[in-house]
Assembly symmetry: C3
Homo-oligomer: 316 residues x 3
């Protein structure tokens, strides 16, 4: 879509007819992508952006790099939300090639296979599975009954996905208008799952708003886990049942999240960290190989000590 | 069903042949409905009931309004449970008209469409979706794969429902006999969802025991959320992933429930309240626009202060 | 499979050609089964084992009963993981008899019925349900849309299973190699559900690694509950929404687990125990009929007192 067309649709001014291929974040956008600047906290990212154009308030235009075009507006994030719809792919493709299916792959009845998708060799796809358009699945993958894989997602080889799990549902992203209406930010990214990943039953992994939610090789995920948009789960990490990860959480390799633990968004957890069951992580953890517990979070040893002291209150 | 027939089936005495159309609560029951009185706490509701009849213990009959018939029994709640079965609709209708489908609505393969249901215009219903009998769905609605919508539920326009979500499953309602058997209270209500509602993946919204579980316009619900029977979610409210609401919780407009937060049943939360992640609400919140956290719940500022004091215990 | 064949496949030495029918735990294995010994804590179980053979480290061979054969290896648990694959049944049977269906049982369209399975009389199986191979279902059972029942599971009579629930998914069992790869322990057990059990929507019940995960008669389970492998839920127990039970948790009869409560694994809870909402059980509870709350767990009265004292900290 041409930039001037986008601007016109949003009631903004812009002459440039550069072709915009996608929306993206300040730091990730390239010279054919459009981004937004809302929060002053990211001022020094703004200076570094390579985006073709940016939704921005008048007052910050002077901070823009010289080769990035300003699309001046009052509410950049809200404007982004409106623009995200222009880049949303079709919900269901009507045209395209039939799904390619590898040797010895067994597809049970009542499976939906989208357009332009492919499934490797030696896979089993059980009844009730939905494979959206433009999905790629590797070899030796078992997908149990009633799993839903949304369009554009990618699954590696040697994976097992248990029944009822959803991969690629929309991330939870909304802007709001001054009169309190929520405007959906279309989630135009996808989910990429590596090799040797096992995912339990009735888990939900949201697609990215831009780019990809990533589950790296060798990750193990239990039942009823929630993974929000744009998370990255480092290889060898383990997520026990009912864990909830907020948006853009990064787990480095071999992180263990105990049952019912969770994270706030936009934080990073160092390699080989263990979070005990119910632990609630609200800040990044930078030192590797430590064990944490509680909410608020303490080092596990400290948490045990603290619980001892709290229990002693009872006797006072 | 005639009242004397109901009484006879339950081994109770009653001569009236008034037609009873439904069960309902003390305050909501009308002159063709049957209710029950179990808990003294509701004595002044009993005085106000407009019900045709009430399951009631002998000792409280004198408190009844003159135009309400007493069905005297030893265990009114248990008796209600037995009676609820008489009013349960068929699990699956065999007769009725075919589902009406609006213009430009796309129904993918392997979708079940119940009798006497209707789907509006410009909708997409993906593979594996189950639409029960007597369901109404508005215009511009997208229902992703493997969603189940139970009979009698209503969904407005401009809604998005993500894969694997269940709407209208039975609420958790049981009476028990003296020897410890649970008797199901048939959940004969429904779920009503307004306009511009988005619901995430693998969420579960239970139907009401009587009347309706209500999700008002503009509500946004994330993945793996539990909404129990007879909740009412006020317009513009936001429920983040893994929230759990107990039965008959009322959220007024623009309430935000953070991830993994929850409520006890039968309480009401004032407009524009924010509950932080993991917050546990056990009493009604009557002052609007406040922020709360923790379990037990404190005002957010107080909770932060308290956590500071608790942390200081460690150093003692 | 012959024991010497198993040994050969794993690079171990063994002459015996005794037929091994299954893997099992130290105490449960019989004279045709193979077990493992990894943890010294179970030394006195080792002395009592009736297993045909055991994966064991050299140093403990002397502790073995005389009629049990040692399969000496460096990493018994890891070796068991490799061996578990030899005993995994087919993911989908291609041969076998068609599912037997009782009188007055209604099967809606788009249902998958596995080989050698049977469904009793007066059942309703809704659209999108997956019934794997060798599944047995009793009489008067209603299974709502998009439920998945994995192979070999058994469901009694008079049960209701709500939409989206998964029964028999793999338990979360993995050994790891020295270089950090996870090796799946194939979950070759099943789930057995008794009579008069009701299970809510989008719940997940894992199959046992050996033997059975058991849900006894009259149990009621709400929405979005996680029950890990090898749990046993005693009759009349109630699990409220979003409860999570870790592996091998035993609930005796009439235990009530409040919403969002959970347990660590390998523990037992006494009859008629009540765990309040959010309670976290980390040790066995041996005295019946008590009420508990909090995490760490306290007797409910004590927990309330403690919360009062904690709140008072704020005023200091």
């Amino acid at each position: 879509m041409k930039l001037n067309e986008i601007a016109k649709n949003l009631g903004l001014k812009c002459d440039s007819n550069i072709e915009i291929t996608a929306l993206n974040s300040l730091l990730d956008a390239n010279e054919n992508q459009l981004t937004f600047f809302e929060n002053k906290k990211y001022l020094h990212d703004l200076a570094k952006t390579k985006a073709a154009a940016v939704f921005i308030r008048e007052e910050f235009v002077k901070e823009l790099p010289s080769n990035t075009i300003a699309l001046v507006c009052e509410e950049p994030y809200l404007t982004l939300a409106y623009a995200s719809k222009f880049f949303a792919p079709k919900i269901v493709e009507e045209e395209g090639s039939e799904c390619v299916i590898g040797n010895n792959t067994k597809i049970l009845p009542n499976v939906y296979l989208g357009k332009n998708s492919s499934i490797g060799s030696n896979c089993t796809i059980m009844s009730g599975v939905y494979i959206g358009d433009n999905v790629t699945i590797g070899d030796n993958v078992t997908i149990y009954a009633n799993v839903s894989v949304y369009r554009d997602c990618k699954i590696g080889s040697d994976c097992i996905i248990h029944a009822g799990t959803v991969i690629g549902s929309d991330g939870f992203g909304f802007a709001h208008t001054k009169d309190g209406q929520y405007i959906k930010i279309y989630q135009n990214g996808n989910v990429i799952i590596g090799n040797r990943v096992e995912i339990g039953a009735n888990t939900a992994i949201d697609r990215a708003v831009f780019k990809s939610t990533i589950i790296e090789d060798g990750v193990i995920i239990d039942n009823l886990v929630h993974i929000a948009h744009n998370c990255r789960i480092g290889h060898g990490s383990i997520l026990v049942a009912q864990v909830g990860l907020s948006g853009s959480t990064i787990l480095n390799e071999y992180v263990v999240m105990g049952g019912q633990s969770g994270t706030s968004g936009h934080l990073e957890i160092a390699p080989f960290t263990t979070i005990a069951a119910r632990g609630g992580v609200t800040k990044s953890i930078t030192t590797p190989k430590k064990q944490w517990a509680g909410f608020p979070l303490f080092e596990h040893k400290e948490w045990l000590k603290l619980q001892g002291k709290i229990a002693r209150l009872l006797k006072k």
